[in-house]
Amino acid sequence: MLMPKPDQEVLAKRSYLVEELRKIVKAEGSVIDDTAGLRAFECDGLSAYRQLPMIAVLPETVSEISEILKFCAAEKVNVVPRGAGTSLSGGALPLADGVLLGLGKFNKILEVDYDNRCVVTQPGVTNLAITDAVKADGFYYAPDPSSQIACTIGGNVAENSGGVHCLKYGLTTNNLLGVEMVTMDGEVIRLGGKHLDAEGYDLLGVITGSEGLLAVITEVTVKILKSPEHVSAQLIGFPSSEQAGDCVGKIIGAGIIPAGMEMMDRYAIHAAEEFCHAGYPLDVEALLIVELDGPKVEIEYYTQQIDEIAKSCGAVESRSSQSEEERMTFWAGRKAAFPAVGRISPDYMCMDGTIPRSQLPKVLARMNELSKHYGLRVANVFHAGDGNLHPLILFDANIPGELEKCEAFGADILKLCVEVGGVLTGEHGVGIEKRDLMGEMFTEEDLKQQQRLKCAFDPDGRLNPGKVFPVLHRCAELGKMHVHNGELPFPDIPRF
């Protein structure tokens, strides 16, 4: 993975930068420049890629962030924002010549407002802590990425995180009311608030999922919902993935939108069962977990319909949770699928494509062929309701060449997703992991149009460069109306 070449001029003034940053952020230990201290930030959840930042800064106030960004902009220093560092796409991978801006100290919930059904929080608060703050009053925050115990709400905004319940309750973008953010020129901007819809262009909408390339999020206002009266999960086993996929389509076709609908294949079922004894059937090829929430009468009504649909699709096993404890056990296996797979293989890489659901049989068949071709095993967990696939490719990084083989396999899977009408990433983000595949999904002109948005927020390209886009264009070049065919107007721009 090629990153932009470090700027030697910036590296040469490192001690000056450290000294100046310490004048902005005075708290002891908040500007880190020793190798041991920097080591903590060298990678995020995509640990195959590592890079020590030039300097790490841990500010405590918005005005410090504003000063840091203004200073870095003036000194032509790149900045990489970081929350809890749980990104699975390398979104928070540091730059050798960059300042890593850690938002871990922004860890306070600022306001719980039941009159307006929202929570105002600092960005470093974890996803789960928001629900914890309102749980006693019967409320919760809906998006629930698997990493919710560790990932921060600021990171969720940057990545537009999803989770198992987004089929019914939406992604981060659908549950976000407002942000305060700081642009690279140090300007503090508020978007939205406790009201709905944007005035003017929907900047809140484009900030969400912008992977830290447009601005640094310093405050977040999210919508909270009343916790459902009852929740129930159903385990349904099938002799084939095709039948399970068919069942998912028929449930939705019958007008039922379950709170969550997850699918696991044989590998994943066995690994999860071995890991946490969730009581999964082991003699099936595919397992669905269908979660329903609402009043008891609604759950009973839908459960009966789902049972009938499942039977008509060839289900060999169907079981509803009889208690909250049992429901949690059903989920424990699914939520632990990644670490469980981690136990049966020294290393694994988690992919994240989305496909139109009807294409599932074709995609699974091709994935099996690819698995044989590369000689690497693959386990599948799948947000079946919305078509978001998480193939886990098993490999051993200690075997020379196996990481590269795994990367090539992963790239083939994602190309396949695009080929059948899907996308490269459903919830993990592009980051560095899928950066070089962007051309599979977008034309050069479409990518340029996206980068023109970047130019509107960060014309000098200082925030998180090297992520998302395979070619760094200069804003002056992007702004031009006509480019002569075949002539590169800036032969020296970095291309990865």
């Binding site: 039941y114 009159d115 307006n116 059904r117 999803g162 089929l167 939406g170 992604l171 659908n174 300007e187 901007i189 978007l191 608030g193 406790k194 009201h195 709905l196 819809d197 005035e199 262009y201 809140l204 909408g205 969400t208 999922g209 912008s210 009343k226 459902p228 939705i252 076709g253 007008g255 609402g294 009043p295 009468v297 609604e298 989305t354 139109p356 659901r357 009807s358 947000h383 919305d386 078509g387 009408g421 899907g422 996308v423 990433t425 459903g426 993990h428 592009v430 034309t443 002109e445 479409d446 149009q449 996206q450 023109r452 948005l453 130019c455 509107a456 927020f457 998302v468 702004g479 109306m481």
Partner: protein, 412 residues
Amino acid sequence: MKHSLIQSEDQIQDVLDWALAGNHGLAVRGNGSKSSIGRPMAVAAELDLSGLSGVELYEPAELVMKAKAGSKLSEVKAILLQQGQQLAFDPPDYGPLLGEDADQGTLGGVFSCNLSGSSRVKAGAARDHLLGVQGYTGRGQPFVTGSRVMKNVTGYDLCKLVAGSYGTLAIATSVTFKVLPRPEKTRTVLVYDLDPATAVRAMRDGISSVHEVSAAAYLPPGIAATSDIDYAAGPGTSVLLLKIEGPGPSAEFRCEAIQSLMSSFGKVEELHGHNSEKIWNFIGNVTAFVGGDAPVWKLSLPPSMASSVLKKIMEEQPGADYFLDWAGGLAWVRLPEGLEDGGASLVRGAISENGHATLIRSSETLRHRIDPFHPLAPAITKINRRIKDGFDPQNILNPGRMYLDQEKVGSD
């Protein structure tokens, strides 16, 4: 003014090339049912997309449809209905409010203006349902963003920018969007004779209950009296409305639960499917304010502030009318004719920094004189201008419709 009725996408390219070469402003429109929202524009030609219609892809089991931007909403809704599905954000029809015919709105129009009806509080806005856009930028370049799948974080979410940009950034030729099952049953619980402050609390309690209220509105006596539903118009009091939807047994159970919850606030009544649909159309389409061109403002604000904001406005302008939707988060206000600024300073002053107000209907003169769209902070204006430059550097698409600084056509 030149009028180009587009029949094929190639023609759009031709019109754009012509506009770019001569620095001509274009009014981008579907059936024009919402053309009077925003500042009147001085343009050389109209780009009429109403001829680009038809469904390109519809997969009910995947909850997705792709259709040409000029497709009429009423036709799309009928196709969805055949499969028991709907657009969950309740696209409103402002045609009659704006002095046009009913049922003229197009898909491109409703997404470009990001207009949502009463269910917006639960189901989300139009922009939340928009998955993909195909079209042209003001650079005259074909443009694609998003996809046909529901979960997609590949690159920037430019769909969000197209939604709500009133055709000032790009021309959408096709839109791909999420569709959802139409609920089996709809019920509406009415609560009579509450003052606005109590109504806002009652709506809060309703929508914060476990009973999944999907819309909540409040009609003061004068507004309720103009509805064509006897249960609302008859009693001569204010009416609060809570919508409950779902499969039969669930809707009935929750409707009863809400009635018992609301009985502590006042006398309750229940509407069934047909009457529910009628009254929510009355609210969503702002039917109460149809007729004349007295200024009609749409205020988005924190629900808890609704009653105090309205109090300020009514004290200053006792001749004004209003009603609330979105559980208090949306206030529709009609001010008397003849105010110098159409009430802009009053309405926007009352909201202060806590929300925004858009002038949805007024005389053309007034829309020239004041900002129909809420004025923005300078830092946001700067970003918006750069975004506009990125999409439409010569400012040929709906020049000046949203903001004054975008009025000048031409790159020089």
